[in-house]
Protein backbone atom coordinates (compact mmCIF):
# COMPACT_ATOMS: atom_id res chain seq x y z
CA UNK A 1 0.00 0.00 0.00
CA UNK A 2 2.69 2.44 1.06
CA UNK A 3 4.98 2.07 -2.05
CA UNK A 4 2.00 2.47 -4.39
CA UNK A 5 0.85 5.56 -2.50
CA UNK A 6 4.34 7.04 -2.78
CA UNK A 7 4.44 6.43 -6.53
CA UNK A 8 1.09 8.15 -7.06
CA UNK A 9 2.25 11.08 -4.95
CA UNK A 10 5.39 11.43 -7.07
CA UNK A 11 3.28 11.44 -10.23
CA UNK A 12 1.04 14.04 -8.68
CA UNK A 13 4.06 16.23 -7.97
CA UNK A 14 5.03 15.98 -11.63
CA UNK A 15 1.56 16.95 -12.75
CA UNK A 16 1.58 19.89 -10.36
CA UNK A 17 4.90 20.99 -11.78
CA UNK A 18 3.60 20.75 -15.34
CA UNK A 19 0.48 22.71 -14.43
CA UNK A 20 2.55 25.31 -12.61
CA UNK A 21 4.89 25.73 -15.58
CA UNK A 22 1.99 26.20 -17.98
CA UNK A 23 0.42 28.80 -15.69
CA UNK A 24 3.69 30.71 -15.33
CA UNK A 25 4.18 30.82 -19.08
CA UNK A 26 0.59 32.03 -19.49
CA UNK A 27 1.15 34.69 -16.85
CA UNK A 28 4.36 35.89 -18.46
CA UNK A 29 2.56 36.05 -21.81
CA UNK A 30 0.20 38.64 -20.36
CA UNK A 31 3.00 41.13 -21.04
CA UNK A 32 1.83 41.04 -24.64
CA UNK A 33 -1.32 42.85 -23.60
CA UNK A 34 0.97 45.78 -24.36
CA UNK A 35 -0.06 45.15 -27.97
CA UNK A 36 -3.75 45.77 -27.32
CA UNK A 37 -3.25 49.48 -26.84
CA UNK A 38 -4.69 51.52 -29.67
CA UNK A 39 -3.39 55.06 -29.40
CA UNK A 40 -5.62 57.83 -30.71
CA UNK A 41 -2.70 60.18 -30.92
CA UNK A 42 0.02 58.46 -32.92
CA UNK A 43 3.39 57.82 -31.34
CA UNK A 44 5.01 59.82 -34.10
CA UNK A 45 3.25 62.95 -33.06
CA UNK A 46 5.05 64.90 -30.42
CA UNK A 47 3.32 64.46 -27.08
CA UNK A 48 2.64 68.18 -26.91
CA UNK A 49 -0.21 67.44 -29.32
CA UNK A 50 -2.10 65.74 -26.52
CA UNK A 51 -3.69 68.99 -25.40
CA UNK A 52 -7.13 70.37 -24.68
CA UNK A 53 -8.76 72.16 -27.63
CA UNK A 54 -9.81 75.76 -27.15
CA UNK A 55 -13.32 76.49 -28.37
CA UNK A 56 -15.22 79.79 -28.46
CA UNK A 57 -18.69 79.14 -27.06
CA UNK A 58 -20.36 82.50 -27.45
CA UNK A 59 -20.72 85.89 -25.87
CA UNK A 60 -22.01 86.50 -22.36
CA UNK A 61 -24.53 89.05 -23.65
CA UNK A 62 -26.30 86.47 -25.79
CA UNK A 63 -26.79 84.10 -22.86
CA UNK A 64 -30.23 84.05 -21.26
CA UNK A 65 -30.52 83.06 -17.65
CA UNK A 66 -31.50 79.40 -17.12
CA UNK A 67 -31.42 78.70 -20.87
CA UNK A 68 -28.81 75.98 -21.53
CA UNK A 69 -26.57 76.04 -24.62
CA UNK A 70 -25.51 72.58 -25.75
CA UNK A 71 -22.02 72.10 -27.24
CA UNK A 72 -19.53 69.27 -27.87
CA UNK A 73 -16.25 69.25 -25.95
CA UNK A 74 -13.53 67.88 -25.98
CA UNK A 75 -14.71 65.28 -28.49
CA UNK A 76 -17.49 65.50 -31.03
CA UNK A 77 -19.36 62.77 -29.19
CA UNK A 78 -19.15 64.25 -25.65
CA UNK A 79 -21.91 66.84 -25.26
CA UNK A 80 -22.07 69.43 -22.46
CA UNK A 81 -24.32 72.35 -21.58
CA UNK A 82 -23.42 75.94 -20.82
CA UNK A 83 -25.85 77.71 -18.52
CA UNK A 84 -26.15 81.14 -16.89
CA UNK A 85 -27.58 80.44 -13.45
CA UNK A 86 -28.35 83.96 -12.21
CA UNK A 87 -26.74 83.18 -8.84
CA UNK A 88 -23.06 82.90 -7.98
CA UNK A 89 -22.08 79.23 -8.33
CA UNK A 90 -19.11 76.97 -7.80
CA UNK A 91 -16.93 76.88 -10.98
CA UNK A 92 -18.86 79.92 -12.22
CA UNK A 93 -17.21 82.49 -14.53
CA UNK A 94 -18.40 85.71 -16.05
CA UNK A 95 -19.04 89.14 -14.49
CA UNK A 96 -21.46 87.60 -11.96
CA UNK A 97 -19.60 84.33 -11.48
CA UNK A 98 -22.72 82.41 -12.46
CA UNK A 99 -21.92 80.87 -15.83
CA UNK A 100 -21.12 77.16 -15.60
CA UNK A 101 -20.78 74.26 -18.01
CA UNK A 102 -20.98 70.55 -17.26
CA UNK A 103 -20.90 67.28 -19.14
CA UNK A 104 -24.40 65.92 -19.69
CA UNK A 105 -23.35 62.30 -19.76
CA UNK A 106 -24.58 60.83 -16.50
CA UNK A 107 -21.90 59.22 -14.33
CA UNK A 108 -24.28 56.38 -13.41
CA UNK A 109 -24.81 54.54 -16.69
CA UNK A 110 -24.04 57.08 -19.41
CA UNK A 111 -27.49 58.44 -20.26
CA UNK A 112 -27.72 62.00 -21.51
CA UNK A 113 -29.57 64.20 -19.07
CA UNK A 114 -31.15 67.63 -19.33
CA UNK A 115 -31.14 70.87 -17.35
CA UNK A 116 -34.02 71.73 -15.04
CA UNK A 117 -34.37 75.27 -13.73
CA UNK A 118 -35.65 75.42 -10.17
CA UNK A 119 -39.33 74.62 -9.96
CA UNK A 120 -39.55 73.03 -13.35
CA UNK A 121 -40.48 69.41 -14.07
CA UNK A 122 -38.70 67.08 -16.46
CA UNK A 123 -40.70 65.67 -19.35
CA UNK A 124 -40.25 62.10 -18.08
CA UNK A 125 -41.67 62.75 -14.59
CA UNK A 126 -44.24 65.52 -14.37
CA UNK A 127 -44.73 64.96 -10.63
CA UNK A 128 -41.15 65.89 -9.76
CA UNK A 129 -40.18 69.50 -9.17
CA UNK A 130 -36.51 70.48 -9.31
CA UNK A 131 -35.53 72.09 -5.97
CA UNK A 132 -32.51 73.93 -7.43
CA UNK A 133 -30.98 74.54 -10.82
CA UNK A 134 -29.96 70.98 -11.56
CA UNK A 135 -29.28 68.37 -14.16
CA UNK A 136 -31.97 65.70 -13.94
CA UNK A 137 -31.33 62.31 -15.52
CA UNK A 138 -34.50 60.63 -16.75
CA UNK A 139 -33.01 57.14 -16.83
CA UNK A 140 -32.85 56.55 -13.09
CA UNK A 141 -33.59 59.87 -11.44
CA UNK A 142 -30.07 61.10 -10.85
CA UNK A 143 -29.79 64.79 -9.87
CA UNK A 144 -26.73 67.08 -10.11
CA UNK A 145 -26.89 70.47 -8.37
CA UNK A 146 -25.37 72.92 -10.87
CA UNK A 147 -25.01 75.65 -8.23
CA UNK A 148 -22.78 73.40 -6.10
CA UNK A 149 -20.33 72.03 -8.67
CA UNK A 150 -22.76 69.40 -9.99
CA UNK A 151 -22.81 67.64 -6.62
CA UNK A 152 -25.09 64.61 -6.61
CA UNK A 153 -28.20 65.48 -4.57
CA UNK A 154 -30.39 62.56 -5.55
CA UNK A 155 -30.49 59.28 -7.39
CA UNK A 156 -27.87 56.62 -8.07
CA UNK A 157 -24.93 58.49 -9.69
CA UNK A 158 -21.74 57.79 -7.69
CA UNK A 159 -20.04 61.13 -8.31
CA UNK A 160 -20.48 64.54 -9.92
CA UNK A 161 -20.20 65.08 -13.64
CA UNK A 162 -17.00 66.75 -14.86
CA UNK A 163 -17.09 70.54 -15.35
CA UNK A 164 -15.96 72.20 -18.55
CA UNK A 165 -13.34 74.75 -17.51
CA UNK A 166 -14.38 78.11 -18.88
CA UNK A 167 -12.42 81.23 -19.64
CA UNK A 168 -14.17 84.58 -19.69
CA UNK A 169 -12.59 87.35 -21.71
CA UNK A 170 -13.68 90.48 -19.83
CA UNK A 171 -12.70 92.79 -22.69
CA UNK A 172 -14.91 91.16 -25.32
CA UNK A 173 -17.36 89.21 -23.15
CA UNK A 174 -16.52 85.99 -25.00
CA UNK A 175 -16.60 82.63 -23.29
CA UNK A 176 -14.15 79.85 -24.13
CA UNK A 177 -14.05 76.18 -23.22
CA UNK A 178 -10.43 75.42 -22.38
CA UNK A 179 -10.29 72.06 -20.56
CA UNK A 180 -12.24 69.40 -18.70
CA UNK A 181 -11.95 69.11 -14.95
CA UNK A 182 -11.94 65.83 -13.07
CA UNK A 183 -13.40 63.22 -12.95
CA UNK A 184 -13.13 61.70 -16.41
CA UNK A 185 -16.18 61.80 -18.64
CA UNK A 186 -18.32 58.68 -18.28
CA UNK A 187 -16.91 55.86 -20.39
CA UNK A 188 -13.45 57.37 -20.67
CA UNK A 189 -10.92 55.40 -18.68
CA UNK A 190 -11.48 53.86 -15.26
CA UNK A 191 -14.48 55.41 -13.52
CA UNK A 192 -13.66 58.14 -11.08
CA UNK A 193 -10.17 58.90 -12.36
CA UNK A 194 -9.19 62.33 -11.09
CA UNK A 195 -5.49 63.05 -11.68
CA UNK A 196 -5.13 65.72 -14.39
CA UNK A 197 -2.73 63.83 -16.65
CA UNK A 198 -5.00 60.78 -16.76
CA UNK A 199 -8.07 62.98 -17.30
CA UNK A 200 -6.31 64.57 -20.28
CA UNK A 201 -5.32 61.19 -21.69
CA UNK A 202 -8.66 59.45 -21.25
CA UNK A 203 -11.03 62.27 -22.10
CA UNK A 204 -9.30 62.77 -25.44
CA UNK A 205 -9.57 59.11 -26.42
CA UNK A 206 -12.41 57.39 -28.20
CA UNK A 207 -13.50 60.01 -30.71
CA UNK A 208 -12.61 62.92 -32.89
CA UNK A 209 -11.28 65.99 -31.10
CA UNK A 210 -13.70 68.88 -31.52
CA UNK A 211 -12.94 71.96 -33.65
CA UNK A 212 -14.77 75.30 -33.77
CA UNK A 213 -16.90 73.97 -36.63
CA UNK A 214 -17.94 70.75 -34.98
CA UNK A 215 -18.52 72.11 -31.49
CA UNK A 216 -22.18 72.85 -32.14
CA UNK A 217 -23.23 70.00 -34.38
CA UNK A 218 -25.45 67.38 -32.86
CA UNK A 219 -23.69 64.08 -33.44
Amino acid sequence: MKPKGKATRRDFLKILLAAGSALTVAAAASVFRFLTYIPTTGPNQPTTQLAWPRIMLGNVNSLESMKPLQFNYPLVNTPNILVKLGVKAENGVGPDGDIVAYSIICQHLGCYFGFQPPGSSPSCDASFQAPVAEGYCCCHGGQYDFTQGAKVIGGPPPRSVPPVQLEYDAATGDLYAIAMGPPTIFGHGPPGTTDPQSVLTFDLQGGEVVTQDTAFSSA
Binding site: L13, L17, S21, T24, A27, S30, R33
Partner: protein, 90 residues
Protein backbone atom coordinates in the same frame (compact mmCIF):
# COMPACT_ATOMS: atom_id res chain seq x y z
CA UNK B 1 0.69 13.51 7.03
CA UNK B 2 3.96 12.07 5.81
CA UNK B 3 6.71 14.00 4.06
CA UNK B 4 5.59 13.52 0.51
CA UNK B 5 2.10 14.55 1.52
CA UNK B 6 3.46 17.82 2.87
CA UNK B 7 5.26 18.40 -0.41
CA UNK B 8 2.10 17.69 -2.39
CA UNK B 9 0.12 20.07 -0.22
CA UNK B 10 2.68 22.87 -0.56
CA UNK B 11 2.98 22.31 -4.30
CA UNK B 12 -0.77 22.33 -4.75
CA UNK B 13 -0.98 25.59 -2.82
CA UNK B 14 1.69 27.11 -5.01
CA UNK B 15 -0.12 25.99 -8.16
CA UNK B 16 -3.38 27.52 -6.91
CA UNK B 17 -1.50 30.73 -6.17
CA UNK B 18 0.01 30.68 -9.65
CA UNK B 19 -3.43 30.22 -11.21
CA UNK B 20 -5.01 33.12 -9.34
CA UNK B 21 -2.14 35.47 -10.13
CA UNK B 22 -2.08 34.47 -13.80
CA UNK B 23 -5.79 35.19 -14.13
CA UNK B 24 -5.40 38.54 -12.40
CA UNK B 25 -2.49 39.58 -14.61
CA UNK B 26 -4.69 39.22 -17.65
CA UNK B 27 -7.36 41.55 -16.32
CA UNK B 28 -5.61 44.26 -14.32
CA UNK B 29 -5.74 47.74 -15.85
CA UNK B 30 -2.33 48.32 -17.34
CA UNK B 31 -2.16 52.06 -17.53
CA UNK B 32 -2.84 52.70 -13.90
CA UNK B 33 -1.41 49.63 -12.28
CA UNK B 34 1.92 49.01 -13.89
CA UNK B 35 3.64 48.61 -10.56
CA UNK B 36 1.02 46.12 -9.44
CA UNK B 37 1.43 44.19 -12.67
CA UNK B 38 5.19 44.08 -12.23
CA UNK B 39 5.02 43.08 -8.57
CA UNK B 40 2.53 40.29 -9.25
CA UNK B 41 4.45 39.01 -12.25
CA UNK B 42 7.53 38.87 -10.03
CA UNK B 43 5.52 36.97 -7.42
CA UNK B 44 4.41 34.51 -10.09
CA UNK B 45 8.02 33.88 -11.11
CA UNK B 46 9.18 33.45 -7.51
CA UNK B 47 6.33 31.00 -6.84
CA UNK B 48 7.32 29.09 -9.97
CA UNK B 49 10.94 28.87 -8.84
CA UNK B 50 9.74 27.58 -5.45
CA UNK B 51 7.54 25.00 -7.15
CA UNK B 52 10.42 23.72 -9.27
CA UNK B 53 12.69 23.54 -6.25
CA UNK B 54 10.07 21.74 -4.18
CA UNK B 55 9.07 19.16 -6.78
CA UNK B 56 12.47 18.27 -8.17
CA UNK B 57 14.33 17.47 -4.99
CA UNK B 58 14.61 13.68 -4.59
CA UNK B 59 12.93 13.72 -1.19
CA UNK B 60 11.63 16.04 1.44
CA UNK B 61 14.81 16.12 3.49
CA UNK B 62 16.73 17.54 0.53
CA UNK B 63 14.44 20.57 0.53
CA UNK B 64 16.23 23.31 2.43
CA UNK B 65 13.52 24.88 4.55
CA UNK B 66 15.43 28.15 4.66
CA UNK B 67 14.97 28.60 0.90
CA UNK B 68 11.25 27.90 1.17
CA UNK B 69 10.92 30.36 4.01
CA UNK B 70 12.80 33.05 2.09
CA UNK B 71 10.53 32.41 -0.87
CA UNK B 72 7.39 32.83 1.22
CA UNK B 73 8.70 36.05 2.74
CA UNK B 74 9.52 37.32 -0.76
CA UNK B 75 6.00 36.47 -1.93
CA UNK B 76 4.45 38.31 0.99
CA UNK B 77 6.60 41.40 0.34
CA UNK B 78 5.80 41.36 -3.37
CA UNK B 79 2.07 41.12 -2.79
CA UNK B 80 2.25 44.01 -0.33
CA UNK B 81 4.43 46.13 -2.63
CA UNK B 82 1.63 47.71 -4.74
CA UNK B 83 -0.03 49.05 -1.60
CA UNK B 84 3.06 51.08 -0.82
CA UNK B 85 2.53 53.00 -4.04
CA UNK B 86 -0.74 54.57 -5.08
CA UNK B 87 -1.88 54.86 -8.63
CA UNK B 88 0.29 54.29 -11.65
CA UNK B 89 3.91 54.95 -12.45
CA UNK B 90 4.88 58.58 -13.08
Amino acid sequence: MDEDGVRVLLSATLVAFLAVLAAYLWFVDLLLNQRQFGAFLTAELVAFAMLVYLTTKPDYDAVKKSWMLMGCVALALLLALPFLYSGGLP
